[in-house]
């Protein structure tokens, strides 16, 4: 069983959602992760809040927030256990992040650090 990281990419992190909308997304996300955990395929994961976010650029220039010059931002990630990238992709398809137009979930295999990668 390999580990894959599912990275939530938001097209525009500056959009502000209503508290009610955030609550719905939170529940959907929790249910989605719960469903993966119920299959014993959840490893770890967390949200990455935008508050206090900074970006460090070339020459140590620091800007506020991850959404200065770029459009796309990362909202969080989870790490799942899957026997193939296809299985990990199936998990990713359930992510509520994909309800937002332009959003995506990037699926990447995690290096095992056992000399094979």
């Amino acid at each position: 069983m390999d580990e894959f990281i599912l990275i939530f990419r938001h097209e525009d992190g500056t959009k502000v959602a209503s508290p009610e909308q955030i609550e719905v997304w939170m529940k959907q996300t929790m249910d989605w992760i719960g469903g993966i955990a119920a299959q014993n395929k959840f490893s770890s994961g967390t949200g990455l809040p935008f508050d206090d976010a900074k970006v460090v650029w070339h020459n140590n220039v620091v800007t506020n927030g991850p959404f200065g010059e770029i459009k796309e931002t990362i909202g969080g990630y989870i790490i799942v256990k899957a026997s193939s990238v296809e299985e990990a992709v199936e998990f990713a398809k359930g992510s509520p992040v994909l309800q937002g137009e332009g959003n995506s979930v990037e699926v990447r295999k995690i290096a095992r650090r056992d000399g094979t990668h």
Partner: protein, 409 residues
């Protein structure tokens, strides 16, 4: 209390105390001698009390006899004299005699330290429970065999191996230091919870034994709470969890010893005192920033004490299971989460999620699918209940499933 009831009762409460104190005094590698002395003490009680009647303070009588037997042992044992005694004499010279301290404080300390010694990672989990039952709960070999649904030889072998391990590893009877206590506490709590589950989910027909197991587990947990170095949030959470579960003890079985499902239980038989104790310890558990699986399980158990099927209840239960499974996966938690999902979201969604679990060697998996398909797809419901029936092991489980099948017809 009559003699025939009093001695088994005292055995259950005092045997472990004598063993713990003597063991700490002699060293863990002399555990069998400590057990022999404790057993001899009760044999003496059974013989003497038949002729002379029960002494006014039976417990004090037992402690006195145990002390004398221990002193005799220390004096007579030649191996002891030549090898260990010189050291002991240095320690005890200031007391002028070989003192065996059976004060309440020392009994409590010894038992607490014993608990940590038994739950040493070097000992296998099943042996930890076996030893706990024997040494901390004063259970007989027969009773342990019955609780584990196995025979006496297996239990004896298991205990023997565990004691050998103790000797080889030269385990000490002591509380671990503050740095290590959280790690070791984890094992202790696991053992206590297994002890409780052994009683609560036991298929053994012996009702008294099952209840005793649960209450012993709760008593051990309480002892951890009474000691300031082990009174941690997760310990309170575990006791809370056990209180909530135990509150339904009287409602779970009918007069014939058959299981009554949660929905059919008579709520007036739920123990209100234990429910409020559960709430109290859950409150005590929320004093730190630790969120253990016991916290989540206790919160779920709290919602089980709320009988009404409200939207709020099932949404909370679902989210708790979502969290629990991230910390500690178990097939039962996965199934329970799916049931909560059907209540909080929809049966259709729950069926989709349930099919993904593929716990095809688990009778409860098929029972759940049967439940979910009931009212949606008659044939699939029937099929799943029949699958469950074919792999159910105990008559009680088979009966519950058969009833559900009958209701479908």
């Amino acid at each position: 209390m009559e003699k025939q009831e009093l001695i088994p009762h005292l055995f259950r409460t005092e045997y472990r105390k004598i063993v713990a104190v003597l063991c700490r005094r002699f060293g863990f590698d002399q555990i069998e001698i400590a057990e022999d002395i404790a057993s001899d003490t009760f044999l003496a009680a059974a013989q003497t009390w038949s002729f002379n009647g029960i002494p006014p303070n039976a417990t004090a009588w037992l402690y006195n006899v145990a002390k004398n037997k221990a002193r005799n042992h220390l004096h007579c044992n030649t191996i002891f004299e030549s090898k260990i005694s010189p050291e002991i004499k240095i320690i005890t010279s200031e007391f002028h005699e070989l003192d065996i301290d059976l004060s309440p404080q020392n009994i409590n300390d010894s038992q607490l330290q014993m608990m940590f010694a038994i739950c040493h990672p070097a000992i296998s989990p099943e042996s930890q429970i076996g030893l706990s039952l024997r040494i901390l709960c004063g259970f007989g070999i027969d009773e342990i065999a019955e609780a584990f649904l196995t025979n006496k030889e297996t239990v004896n072998k298991r205990l023997f191996r565990a004691k050998e391990k103790i000797r080889n590893e030269k385990l000490k009877i002591e509380l671990p230091g503050p740095a290590e206590i959280n790690d070791r506490l984890e094992n202790v709590l696991t053992t206590i919870y297994l002890l409780f589950s052994e009683g609560y989910y036991s298929v053994s027909q012996n009702q008294t034994l099952r209840k005793d197991l649960c209450f012993e587990a709760m008593r051990l947990c309480n002892m951890l709470i009474e000691n300031s170095s082990t009174n941690k949030p997760q310990v309170n959470a575990l006791l809370s969890l056990m209180c909530f579960h135990a509150s339904r003890f009287e409602a779970r079985l009918d007069k014939n010893g058959e299981h009554i499902l949660y929905d059919d239980q008579d709520v007036s038989l739920w123990n209100a005192d234990l429910i409020s104790k559960g709430a109290y310890f859950l409150k005590c558990a929320t004093t730190g920033n630790i969120l253990s699986k016991y916290h989540i399980e206790a919160s779920i158990a709290y919602w089980s004490t709320q009988r009404n099927d409200t939207k709020e209840k099932w949404e909370n239960v679902l989210q708790l299971y979502n969290r629990l499974l991230q910390i500690a996966y178990s097939p039962i938690a996965a199934l329970n989460r799916t049931f909560a999902l059907s209540k909080a979201n929809s049966k259709a969604e729950a069926i989709m999620e349930a099919e993904k679990l593929r716990l095809t060697d688990n009778q409860f998996y098929f029972t759940l699918l049967g439940e979910l398909y009931t009212g949606i797809d008659h044939e699939k419901a029937k099929c799943n209940f029949q699958m469950a029936l074919s792999i159910a092991r105990t008559p009680a489980d088979k009966q519950v499933i058969q009833k559900k099948l009958d209701q479908l017809q």
